[in-house]
């Protein structure tokens, strides 16, 4: 059952990749897609400069955010956990909104760097408050509290500087609009984190037996937690810096995957990456094609799917 759904996921992802290249405000037949890669072709801009980098970015960001979600849920062992409880995306949001409201004339190309610094500072803050030896529940609650604090600071900034609300809100919903090869190349170095994350699969299985059993089986529980959360922070921070906080992806994707392939991390981690990629590709495809030429932020789409699922999850775990 577990391994059987993997080929389907791969097929679905490839199908969506092609669909993302074909459809948009202007539909381009499948046969012309390859021609569009050549310079001078009439679809060159649409395919090569616009849809291709955006599609690859959606795939990578979806995969990385989902993987971060699976890592966090793996060590915090709470179904409601997601990278959001670490306060990382809100930290990035606060830094970005601060930058946009107080330096409205500053160069916008610095925004990813500012957001990245914001999320890393947020992660350090959490670490500083909790240390490396505190319980996961303390970590989660502190993270949620910090996230709430950052969120209220964001609201405060937007209330005192309402002029920038549009740009800030647009960024805060998370969008792939206007992201191209530049942003993609900023994300590439962070892909190095993925093999490390996959390498943690086996110890993550053991920690599910409980700390005591895991330790007696030779797992250094605290180090593992720190490593997983650190990787999750890196993965989330890099994605959020480029696309803004795309909500619910890190929460929903690992859950869906667990339903499909079960809880063994060796399969769960790669499969959750596929599911995350599929979800974000789908969200961006819908966001671009639902009412062209209007482009909705992909973050709205993931929230539309994610929020009801989150509620259902809450009701079920009661």
């Amino acid at each position: 059952m577990a391994t059987r759904s993997l080929p389907f996921l791969v097929l679905a992802m490839i199908g969506l990749l092609i669909a993302n290249l074909m459809f948009g405000a202007v539909s381009i037949p499948f046969k012309q897609i390859l021609d569009g890669l050549q310079t001078g072709n009439e679809h060159h801009f649409t395919i090569h400069e616009y849809r291709l980098p955006r599609t690859i970015l959606a795939m990578l960001v979806g995969a990385m955010m989902a993987l971060a979600g699976a890592l966090v849920q793996g060590v915090i062992r709470n179904p409601l956990a997601s990278p959001d409880v670490l306060g990382v995306s809100h930290g990035a949001g606060l830094a970005a909104v601060f930058y946009m409201t107080f330096f409205p004339n500053a160069d916008i190309s610095w925004l990813p760097a500012v957001a990245l610094v914001g999320s890393l500072v947020a992660a350090l803050m959490l670490w500083w408050l909790c240390g490396s030896h505190s319980s996961t529940i303390k970590l989660a609650i502190t993270g949620v509290a910090l996230a709430a604090l950052y969120a209220s600071c964001i609201d405060f900034l937007m209330l005192i500087k309402p002029l920038e609300i549009n740009n800030a809100l647009l960024w805060l919903t998370g969008s792939l609009w206007g992201r191209g090869w530049n942003q993609l190349s900023m994300l590439l170095p962070w892909l190095l984190l993925i093999p490390f994350a996959l390498w943690l699969a086996k110890p993550l299985n053991l920690i599910h037996l409980g700390d005591d059993s895991a330790i007696s089986l030779g797992i250094k529980a605290n180090k593992l937690r720190l490593a997983s959360l650190g990787l999750a922070v890196g993965l989330t921070a890099s994605c959020v810096a480029i696309c803004g906080p795309i909500g619910f992806l890190g929460l929903v994707a690992p859950h869906l995957t667990r339903k499909l392939v079960g809880g063994r991390h060796q399969i769960l981690l790669p499969a959750t990456m596929l599911v995350g990629a599929i979800l974000l590709l789908l969200a961006d495809l819908v966001a671009r094609t639902i009412d062209p030429p209007i482009e909705l932020p992909a973050g709205i789409m993931t929230a539309i799917i994610g929020a009801p699922y989150f509620l259902w999850l809450l009701l079920r775990t009661k």
């Binding site: 405000a25 849809r51 916008i108 209330l159 309402p162 740009n167």
Partner: protein, 297 residues
């Protein structure tokens, strides 16, 4: 051989011709040069549509938020049909590309993030629109005129605009205090002296109300804060009905507003006053104000 020389000469003269035509302007990102007269222009803010319509040029594409009514009727009649390229905040780059434009006019406040992408589609002139003052807007309009090869026409139109504004000002009382604000469902935004509407009000010989802090073009204002500003004349553009201002009318504080006591509150088209920001809309605003001041006589 003769033919070759002839060809070379023709090519050379063509080159020289186009070189002679090349215009260079300063936009928000530095120097912008164009060596042909653009025929297929895509604009990403309403004020640029106004500038094109002022010299009778029709854009092929407009980021009109997919709602053609957001363009003033006078302007719609002037420019004819166009293709929507989506919202002003996130215009669809593939739709822009499919229109094969030879000039894009973008807003530095909204579109700086995609400036590089726009340039890959067509030469992109990037100018202030959102958050721009009346004076900055006139400068941007003049730059657009030059870039689209209509410098003379645009200068003439701008001169006429000054005359129209002076004429309108002559019909308006001098130095009266006028404050404009847009009312949404849950918030009132006053357009301060730094805003486009504030500039137009001054250009018409009227006075801006003192809105306190003047660092922003638009300021969200509660009923109590509005009472502190307490303008003599209050012009409201309702984005929705009923807007927050209509809800305030039943509050006791409302009745002690100077403008409410003297019946000096008037509704105008929020779109003209807030979103359009161009010379045609400025003239429409002047006519609105004349109606306002004549109504009370």
């Amino acid at each position: 051989m003769k033919r070759l020389i002839y060809l070379a000469l023709t090519a050379l003269s063509l080159c020289l011709c186009s070189l002679a035509q090349a215009v260079t302007v300063e936009d928000s990102k530095g120097t912008f040069s164009i060596d042909y007269t653009p025929k297929r222009i895509v604009v990403l803010e309403f004020s640029f549509v106004d500038a094109l319509a002022a010299v009778g040029v029709s854009p092929v594409g407009i980021a009109d938020d997919k709602d053609s009514n957001r363009i003033l009727k006078e302007i719609r009649d002037e420019i004819g049909d166009w293709t929507s390229v989506g919202t002003r905040s996130q215009p669809s780059l593939e739709t822009i590309s499919s229109l094969k434009p030879d000039l894009i006019i973008a807003d530095i406040s909204r579109h700086e993030g995609v400036y590089a992408d726009l340039q890959k589609i067509a030469p992109t002139l990037i100018l202030p629109s959102r958050r721009a003052t009346y004076e900055e807007n006139l400068q941007a309009t003049a730059i657009i005129g030059k870039a689209i090869g209509k410098e003379k026409e645009m200068q003439a139109r701008l001169k006429k605009h000054d005359e129209v504004m002076a004429e309108l000002a002559a019909q308006l009382p001098k130095g009266k205090e006028v404050q404009f604000g847009v009312a949404r469902d849950d918030a009132l935004f006053l357009h301060t002296a730094n805003s486009y509407a504030g500039g137009v009000i001054r250009a018409l010989g009227l006075k801006n109300a003192n809105t306190g802090r003047n660092d922003d073009a638009y300021r969200q204002t509660s009923l109590e804060q509005l009472l502190t500003v307490n303008p003599d004349y209050f012009i409201v553009g309702h984005y929705v009905t009923p807007s927050i201002v209509e809800k305030w009318k039943s509050e006791p504080l409302w009745s002690i507003l100077k403008a409410a006591k003297n019946n000096h509150i008037y509704a105008v088209n929020a779109n003209t006053w807030s979103r359009c920001r161009g010379i045609i809309s400025a003239e429409t605003m002047g006519q609105d104000l004349i109606k306002v001041f004549n109504a009370k006589k």
